[in-house]
């Protein structure tokens, strides 16, 4: 959005180094080496710039300059002059995802474990192939010297997570992993110093390496989704243009706007705070906030909600509620309450660990007791018991879930679906009831001309030429429709925009007008808020009606979801007539209209109380509590910022097919996870008796572990992209 006040950009810059400032711009149109050069070249040629670097993967430009030498607006202007649209990232977003320390820490741990595993394996192979005596003791010592620091460093993520769980009286998968690691290391150290035959350093470090592979993949998946979401979040201006009583205007950050101040909102901008109209008249698009599909006309005294879009004319408004008291803050509070239910969800791997850990630990205990009863010494009984723990250490179990989920997320990404984290897939697979919002979810949430455009090609080219000069949503929709018909807009030189009314130009002595029907001279009886009229010279005006159409494939997607066994409902904030119309067109029997955010949430809670697992698909600010409250949730990429934050998944394409694709992939992933568990358990059923009988050697452990991990990863890769 180009309506940024220049000083506003300072809010998006951050200090890079002492005396240097930095800004990150999202430049979505970069797609080739030439674009990289053009953008970097344009910015580097500015005076004072010390660094300009495009990150092609994230379509992001980072620019740094000596503080005070440059207005950041010049950078934005330079990029736009080079032909690319750019918008700033908020510093908070940049800090949150610049270099995610969690992922980096895991990758480093994995690199160290990989290095150690290879070198210890090198030494172990010599031991297995017959090195003995002093050589074996030396090799064990060297292995110990490599393994101890590795386990201390690379094992940290597991130890701290296991400790955290134990302190709260719970167990998770990291508890048996940590116990196995610590015992294997202790036993191996004992063997090394008593000049024993078998040290298990290789098994312990290899286990770490495989487990870290799973963790790293999981963490990278989350990073990628987070970067995708940050790129989508619209730049909601964190400020407002305030008019002082003296008449001077000043851009203020949103926090310092107080109730009673006069705020100016230009046409095409979003309303920054809740308030009442003082001067001006316009139409307000509230679809993203309340779900109401028809723009509402407002005049002095009319109420405005933060986040709604001012369509037609400039408005002056009096701020009534800001911060905690605003509609947005109420929605956020509802959202936070609703989210607590989801935090109680236990992931499938942790549920497996609850069963797995006691079984394994009991098996080890019985082994020790059994060997003691059979007359073996304490040492041999302990060694065998620890061998059982090492053999059963959940190498394959640790990979079983992340391998499948990472694969599922990457095939979904190919279909334009962003999955925020693995637990979303698990929850999605369990859902049996589906709640849709209407405006912006079942429908596109943007106006499109109804039927065939009632203009000749020549007139349409002129109308499109006028529309090209405006940012009004209806103008843009008309322009897009004309382009879709293969019409090239006639370039028009002098177009004047009359705020709140329309566009005007003179061509060949004829006056052209495109705008509000009554202004362009259309029949007043036909006046409809979602319509434009075009008038050329003395000819009668032509009315172009618009509507918010259903998404392409909406009917097919709903039919497919019904086949998948979902009970489908619509909960909308819109009026009854359009909701009924959409429900009938799609064959959805249960629908409710005119709901407030709290009503929607209450409906979800009622369904939950009946034992349903609810999948919510919605986009608006009013849907955010419902998205947070559902068992799982999906939002389109056009959703409000709050909606995108609350949803588990986002779909980037217009087609509603994304919803059945997501559900079916999640269900398939769930069955792959279960297959993996079955295989991992099958492996244990084979391996545990061998270990209990005392036949397990480090060699057998190494082979068994690698094999089971390969099988589990291979099974995960079978997951295919959805149709």
């Amino acid at each position: 959005m180009a309506t940024l006040a220049p000083s506003n950009l300072d809010l998006f810059t951050a200090e890079a180094a002492p005396g240097e400032r930095r800004i990150d711009l999202h430049v979505p149109a970069i797609h080739c080496a030439g674009c990289i050069r053009k953008v970097e070249g344009a910015v580097r040629s500015l005076p004072g710039i010390t660094k300009a670097r495009v990150n092609f993967t994230t379509r992001r430009l980072t620019a740094e300059w000596a503080d005070g030498s440059l207005d950041p607006g010049a950078i934005l202007a330079a990029v736009e002059a080079a032909g690319f649209e750019a918008r700033p990232f908020a510093p908070a977003d940049v800090a949150a995802q610049g270099s995610d320390p969690a992922s980096r820490r895991l990758i480093k741990a994995m690199a160290v474990a990989g290095f150690a595993a290879m070198n210890i394996m090198l030494l172990s192979v010599s031991v297995w192939s017959g090195a003995d005596g002093a050589t074996r003791d030396l090799f064990h010592l060297i292995s110990a010297a490599i393994a101890l620091p590795t386990i201390a460093y690379s094992g940290m993520p597991f130890f701290s997570s296991a400790w955290g769980a134990l302190r709260q009286g719970r167990t998770n998968m990291d508890v048996p992993i940590s116990i196995g690691l610590v015992l294997a290391t202790a036993l191996s150290l004992y063997e090394t110093f008593t000049r024993g035959h078998e040290a298990w350093f290789d098994a312990a470090v290899m286990l770490l390496f495989f487990l870290l592979l799973g963790r790293v993949a999981d963490s990278l998946m989350r990073d990628r989704a987070r970067a995708g979401v940050a790129a989508l979040l619209k730049q909601s201006a964190p400020g407002a243009l305030v008019r002082a009583p003296s008449g001077d205007t000043e851009w203020r950050p949103i926090e310092s706007v107080a109730p009673g101040m006069t705020v100016l909102v230009a046409a095409g901008e979003r309303v920054p705070v809740d308030g009442l109209v003082l001067e001006g008249g316009s139409a307000i698009d509230r679809s993203l906030v309340t779900g109401e599909s028809l723009p509402e006309a407002v005049g002095p005294g009319g109420q405005l909600l933060a986040g709604t879009l001012n369509l037609d004319g400039p408005l002056a408004m009096k701020a009534t509620a800001v911060g905690e008291a605003s509609f947005l803050a109420q929605v956020v509070r509802l959202m936070e309450d609703a989210e607590q239910g989801r935090a109680r969800y236990t992931r499938i791997a942790d549920r497996a660990a609850r069963l797995y850990a006691p079984v394994v630990h009991l098996a080890a205990l019985f082994t020790a007791i059994g060997w003691l009863i059979a007359g073996a010494g304490l040492y041999q009984a302990l060694v065998t018991a620890i061998a059982v723990l090492i053999i059963t250490c959940p190498c394959a179990l640790g990979l079983a879930v992340p391998a499948v989920q990472v694969r599922a997320a990457s095939v979904l990404m190919k279909r334009g679906l962003l999955v925020k984290d693995g637990s979303a897939l698990e929850r999605l697979a369990e859902c049996d009831t589906l709640i849709f919002d209407k405006t912006g979810t079942l429908t596109l949430g943007r106006p499109t001309p109804v039927g065939v455009l009632p203009l000749s090609d020549a007139d349409l080219a002129l109308a499109a030429g006028l529309a090209a000069k405006s940012r009004h949503p209806l103008s843009r929709a008309l322009l897009a429709a004309a382009r879709a018909q293969g019409i090239t807009p006639t370039p028009l030189a002098e177009v004047t925009e009359h705020p709140g009314l329309g566009l005007e130009a003179q061509v060949n002595g004829e006056r052209l007008r495109l705008g509000r029907p009554d202004w362009a001279g259309a029949d007043a009886a036909d006046t409809h808020l979602l319509a434009l009229a075009f008038r050329k010279g003395g000819q009668p005006a032509v009315l172009i009606p618009f509507e918010d159409p259903l998404r392409p494939d909406a009917a097919a997607a709903i039919a497919r979801l019904k086949r998948d066994g979902f009970e489908i409902r619509i909960l909308s904030g819109d009026r009854e007539a359009p909701v009924r119309h959409a429900a009938q067109a799609l064959g959805i029997a249960h629908w409710d209209a005119g709901l407030a955010p709290a009503d929607k949430l209450a409906a979800i809670e009622a369904l939950k109380a009946e034992g349903h697992k609810v999948l919510v698909v919605g986009d608006g600010l009013n849907d955010a509590p419902m998205l947070a409250g559902g068992h799982a949730s999906i939002a389109p990429s056009s959703a409000s910022d709050a909606g995108q934050t609350a949803a588990d998944m986002l779909f980037l394409n217009d087609s509603l097919m994304a919803v059945p694709q997501a559900v079916e992939t999640a269900r398939r992933a769930d069955s792959h996870v279960r297959q993996n568990f079955v295989m991992a358990i099958g492996y244990n059923i084979l391996a545990v008796p061998i270990a209990m009988a005392g036949f397990a050697t480090p060699l057998i452990a190494a082979v068994a572990m690698s094999l089971s991990s390969l099988i589990v990863v291979g099974n995960a890769l079978r997951l295919k992209a959805p149709k």
Binding site: C32, A33, I36, R37, K51, R53, V54, N55, F56, T57, T58, S99, R104, I107, K108, A111, V112, F115, M118, N119, L122, T135, I142, I146
Partner: protein, 51 residues
């Protein structure tokens, strides 16, 4: 067996060298923009990693 005396340290040092190199490449941000690196070889002009 004396060959082990110098072969082992050499093997370990080489491995450590690889590990150090990997950690360095990660710290200097060489994995931050893998697609960009693939595109940048198409440009003729000098283009250092941090300019």
């Amino acid at each position: 067996m004396t060959t082990i005396g110098f072969l082992l340290p050499i093997a370990l040092l080489l491995g450590l060298g690889g590990l150090a190199a990997f950690l360095w490449t990660m710290r200097s941000g060489q994995y931050d923009d893998l697609d960009g690196a693939a595109q940048r070889i198409l440009t003729d002009e000098e283009d250092g990693p941090e300019s």
